[in-house]
Amino acid sequence: MQVSRRVFLRYAAALGGVAALNKSGLMTLKNLSPSEAEAMQTSMGKYEVKYTADAMCPAECGMEMWIKDGKIAKIYGNKAVPMNDGIACAKGASGQQLVYSPYRLKYPMIRVGERGSGKFKRVTWDEAIDHIGKKLADIKKKYGAESAIMDCGDVTDRDHYYRLFFAYGTPNCTEHGSICDTPRRHGPKLMVGGKRWEPDIMRPQLVRQPDGSLKKDYTYKSKLIVYNGWNPFVATRIFYESRGTVGAKVENGCKVVVIDPSYSNTATAADMWLAPRAGTDGDLFGAMLRYILENDNQNDPNKKYINWSFKKYSTGWEDFDAAFKSWWGKKDPINGLSYFSLDWAADRTGLSKKQIEDLAHLFGITKPAALVWGMQSPGHHYNGYCASIIGVALNVITGNFDIPGGVIDTELVKSDKGGSATGKQFKSKKVKRMIDGKEVEGEVEHFHMDLFGSKYPAAWDDAVADYPNAFMEGVDVRYGPFRGYHYPIKAYILRTGNSILTGSAPYKWKDAILAKDASGNYKLELYVFIDSLNLESALYADVILPEASYAERQSLSDIYPSHQVIYNRDAVIKPLHESKKPTEIMNMLARKLHELGDSDIKGSDFWEKYKTEEDFVNEMLAPAPGRVNVGTPLPYPQYPEGYKLIGTPESLEKGEVTVDDRNKVVKGKPVTVEWLRNNHGVAIWPMSWYRYKKHNADEPNKAFPNTSTKLIEFKFDWADGGKRYGGYKSYNEKIEKAGGEVPLGLREIGFSKFPSTFFWFETKWNPYTNPEYKKYAKDYPFQLICGRVHHAMSGTQMIPWLGEIKTEGTWQPMNNEFEAEVPEAMPMGDEPMKAMKMKFKANTYAVGTIWMNTDDAKKAGIKNGDLVVVENPLGKSTKGKVFASGGIRPGIIKIGFATGGRFSEGLGPAYKTKDYTPSHNDLVDPDVLSPIMGFPGYADMIVKVKKV
C-alpha cells in the first residue's frame, strides 16, 4: 500500500494515543522540542523551506515557500516580514498557477512575419543575443547610444538592465513608476523629497523601549484614516493597509473615511463613504484646507485644527498661505463661485456642503489622523499635482506628519538598496556631439529625453506615455549642454512591462511601433520583449527573451514599510523551460556588445564581476539601510543623532561598527544574502516617529526630510543669502539657462516657469470643472474611471484560481462558455500543477466588466449582463458586459485597469473572453499627458453607453 503523506501524518498523530506502539520505539516522536517539531514539520514531506518574496504583484510581500523535489509545493507569508506579517493573499497563495502556467514564454524567439502578426520562430539564446547585440551596436554607431530606451516595466530587478544600458551609453532607462501615479507622488517629492504617504498602520513595528531593548509592537495608534481614491483591499501595493485598516478599526476604534465614486471593497470598512464626481480630488482637498484655515480656533478645543508647531520644521508657509488665499478672491468661470469655498466645492464635486464641512472638521479635529490619496485620484488626473500638494499641506499643518498613528512618507524611511550595482555612475561618462557645426561635450545623463527634452524637464520619473511620440519624431534636447541636439529613438527594450496595452492608448503605441520610413523600414529599428509572460506587447516585438519567473530569480523587494526593512527574494526553484535570470541576460548581452567592439562595456563591470546573481544582490545590499539615526525613540541611542546607518541590525545593535564623524556615518557589518538567509530572509531596523525633529528638543534635526533645506518646504523655488533652494529650483535654472524657453507641458497650462509655491489649474475632459468641456456633457453623460484589480492584472489573469474570485463591479463571473487550457492542481502525487483543457460554463469565471449605477442602467434600458459599447468623444470605443449596482455614483462608469480585451493568447482564459470584455485604455486620450510629469490622464474621460 502506498502511504500518502496525509495518511502518514494521521498515523504519526495517532501514535501518542496508542500505548501498544510504545515498544516500537516510535513514541520518541511525542513531546518534541519546538525546534525538533519545526524540523519535523518541514522534513516529513522532505520539504525545504525557502524565504522569498511575491514579485508577481507589486506588493512584493515576504513569502515562505515549501519546496519539494525542486518544485513549489506550498506558499505562505513569511512571518518574519512585517509588510505582510505571515500573510499571503489570494494572489500570493496562487503563485504555483503562474509559475507552472502553460502560457509562459518558454524559449527565445525572433519575429518572422510583420510586426504584430504574432509570427515568430524559435531560436537559441546565442542567436537571439547575437541578433540584439548586432542591432544595438549598429544603432549606437549610426545614431548614438541615447537612441535606445530600456523600459523595465516592473520595478523589481530593473537594476541589471539599467546597469547594462547606462554602460552602453543611454540615460533613457525607465520603469513602471513612470506610468503608475506620478502626479500622486508629486507633493511629497516636492515638499519633503519623498514619494508615498501612507497611514502608520504597519504592524508589528520594531520599537526601541525605554530600557534599551527592542520590542515588536502590535498596537495601533490611528484614530482616523481618510483614503481618497485609494483601495488597499483590492489594489494591494502597500499590503499592510488591509489588515492595518481593519485592525486599527477593531482594536483602536479608528474611523475610516473612503472617498471614491465607486463603493470599493475598502469602502465596506468605512464609517463614511463619500462618492464625488471623478477628477475633483483637489477641489475637495482645497475646500478642506480653506475650511480648516477659516475655522481654526486655537482657544476652542472643538476647532483646534492646526498644530502650529509645524512652522518650526518647515519653511515657506506664509508664501503658500498667501498664494492659496489669493484664489479665494477669484470667481471660478464654471460656476461663478469663490475658489475652495464650500459652495464652490459642492458644486464641482457633487457632494453636499455638509458632507465636505463634516469631513474637514473630522479631519481637523481627530488626532492622530492620516489623509492619503491614491493612484485612482490625483494619480490619474491631469491636474493631480494640485491635490497631491494640498494633501501634504493638510497632513502637515494638522500635525499628523510622521507621528504615531499619523501619516508616513514611506519613501523617506524605507531601506536604501541598489548602490553601485545600478550603474548610475556610467551616466556621468563624458560624450561629445556635433551641434550646429560645433563640437559639444556633456555627460550621458544630459541626453535624457525628458529631463533635458523639450516637453517635461521635471519628469523625474520619466514620461513613458510620450514614447510613441519619441518613436515617431525623435527627441529634441532643449536644456543642458546638448541644447539644440536632436536624436531619433531606434531601439526599445521592454522588460516585464506591457506598454502597448497600458502605456496610454494602445492604438497610439501600435501606430508608432508599426510606423515605417520612406524606404519601408520600421522607424523603430529594434524592439525586444523580455518577460516570463506572453503579453500583448510581445506580439509586436522583433525578439522575445524568456526571463525566469519571480520564483526562479533572486533580488530584493521594492517595498514601502514605515521603517527600514529589507528582504531577500530568493530563487526558490531553478528557471523553468529555457528562461534565464536577469543577471545572466545582462552578462550575455554585455559580453556580446564587448565582442562587437563596444569599448564602453567591460568584463570587469559585468561578467567577471557578477559570477552569480548573488554577487549582484550583495552589491545592491551594500548601502542598506542607509537612513539617518533620527526620530523618537531614537533608533540607536548609542550613536550620534543624524548619522547615516549602514550594516546589519545585529552589528549595529552589538556595536560592531566604525563611526565616521567627518561624513556622519555609522558603519557596521554589511548586509549580505548569506546574512539574510540566516535570518528568515529579512533585516529589520528600529522604527521611530517625529523623524523631522531632534529626539530631545523641539527643533529641526537638519537631517530629515530630504529637501534642499532639510525642512518641509511650502515654497518650491527661492533665493536666500545668495543661494537658491526648493524642489523646482533646478528645473527653473534649466529654463533660465535656455533663454527662458518654456517646455511644452508648462505652455499647455499657461505657465512660463515652474511655480514657486501653491498653484492650481484644471483637469482635462471634465465638463463639471473645466469650461472647455462643458459642451460635451449632454452627449457624453458619464465620466469614465478606472481602478486596479490586482488579481486581474496581466500576470494574475493567467491564474484560474483568481478567475474564481469576483471583485467589486469590475471583475465579475460574467463569462460566456469557453474552453481553455489551464494549470490544475493535482490531488494525487507530488506534481503541483498539470495543464488541462477545461470547459468553463457561462457565468462561472470572472472577467472584466463595466460597472454602472442601477438607475443609470435602467434609464438606458440596460440590464445586468447586457453587452454595451462605451464610446468617447474621440470616436474610440470598447465593448463589455454591464454590472449594475447601487455601489457607484450615478453618472460614473468604472472599468478595471487592463482587465479586458486581452488580445494575446498568452493570457489564457482572459484571451478567450476578449470579445466581450472592456479595455479602458482604448478610451484614454493619448494626447492628455499631464503638464509636469507627462503622465497619462487615465481617469480624465467622458463617455456614452449604448446597448449592443
Binding site: 498515523y11 516500537s24 519535523m40 505562505y76 500573510i87 493573499c89 470598512a269 493535482m826
Partner: protein, 224 residues
C-alpha cells in the same frame, strides 16, 4: 528526523489492514483534551478570497469547487448601498447532520477533537451527506468522485502546525483557530470578549456549528 520519518513509513507499510484501521480510529486521541473551534471576525474580512486560494493551494482542490469560499452580496441603492462579505467553510458541527445522513458507517466521522472528516477509502460517493448539510459545505470532488469538504487542514494540525492554511494566510487577520477547551486560546478569548456579537450560521438547524462569527451592525450572516 528524516530517518525517523522513513522508519515510520516502513512500519506503517508492515502493518496489516486491521492494525492500520485501529491506528486510524485513534486519530486525534492524543488531542483528547482539545476541542477545536474556528472564529471569523467579520469586521476584519476584506473580501479578498485569500482563504479560498490558500485552501486550493494547500489541499489541491479542483477548479469549480471549494472547501472554503466567500459569499459576497451587493445590496441597496446609491448612496445607501452596502456590500457584505461572508467567508464560509465547514462548521465542523457538534451535532453534524452529514454524519447522520451517511449510509456507510465510518465514511464520515467526527474526531475526539471535534474535527469532522471523510474517510475517502470508505466513502461511496452517494452524496447524501452533501444534501444533508444545511450550509452547502460539502461537495462531490470531481477528481475523486468522493464527498469532500474542509478538514480544518487536519494534516497540518496533526503535524503540529498551529492553524489551517486559510488562517495562516488571512489578509485581514480575520480568521482564528484553536482549542475551545483552553480558555487562553485566541478563539476562547475572542468568544468570551465578544459575548452577544458571537453568532453561528443557521442556528435554527440545531447542528451547533463550531465556526463562530463576530459580527457588528455593519456585517451580516444571511447573505447567500
Amino acid at each position: 528526523m528524516c530517518g525517523g520519518a522513513s522508519d515510520l513509513r516502513d512500519k506503517w507499510k508492515e502493518m496489516n489492514k486491521e492494525e492500520q484501521t485501529i491506528l486510524a480510529s485513534k486519530i486525534g486521541d492524543n488531542n483528547m483534551s482539545k476541542k477545536y473551534g474556528f472564529v471569523i471576525d467579520l469586521r476584519k474580512c476584506t473580501g479578498c478570497y485569500g482563504c479560498q486560494s490558500s485552501c486550493k493551494m494547500e489541499n489541491k482542490v479542483p477548479m469549480g469547487v471549494n472547501r472554503a469560499t466567500v459569499f459576497i452580496k451587493d445590496a441597496g441603492t446609491f448612496p445607501e448601498n452596502k456590500r457584505f462579505f461572508l467567508p464560509v467553510l465547514c462548521n465542523h458541527c457538534e451535532n453534524p447532520s452529514c454524519i447522520k445522513a451517511c449510509p456507510v458507517p465510518g465514511a464520515t466521522f467526527k474526531r475526539a477533537d471535534g474535527t469532522v472528516l471523510v474517510d475517502h477509502d470508505k466513502c461511496v460517493g452517494c452524496g447524501y451527506c452533501a444534501a444533508a448539510c444545511p450550509y452547502g459545505a460539502r461537495f462531490m470532488n470531481p477528481a475523486t468522485g468522493k464527498a469532500d469538504k474542509c478538514t480544518w487542514c487536519v494534516h497540518r494540525l496533526d503535524a503540529g502546525l498551529e492553524e489551517p492554511a486559510c488562517v495562516r494566510n488571512c489578509k485581514g487577520s480575520a480568521r482564528y483557530f484553536g482549542d475551545l477547551n483552553n480558555p487562553d486560546s485566541s478563539v476562547s478569548r475572542l468568544i468570551a470578549e465578544s459575548k452577544d456579537r458571537i453568532k453561528v450560521r443557521k442556528e435554527e438547524f440545531g447542528t451547533k456549528p463550531q465556526a463562530f462569527y463576530i459580527i457588528d451592525n455593519r456585517t451580516k450572516l444571511d447573505v447567500e
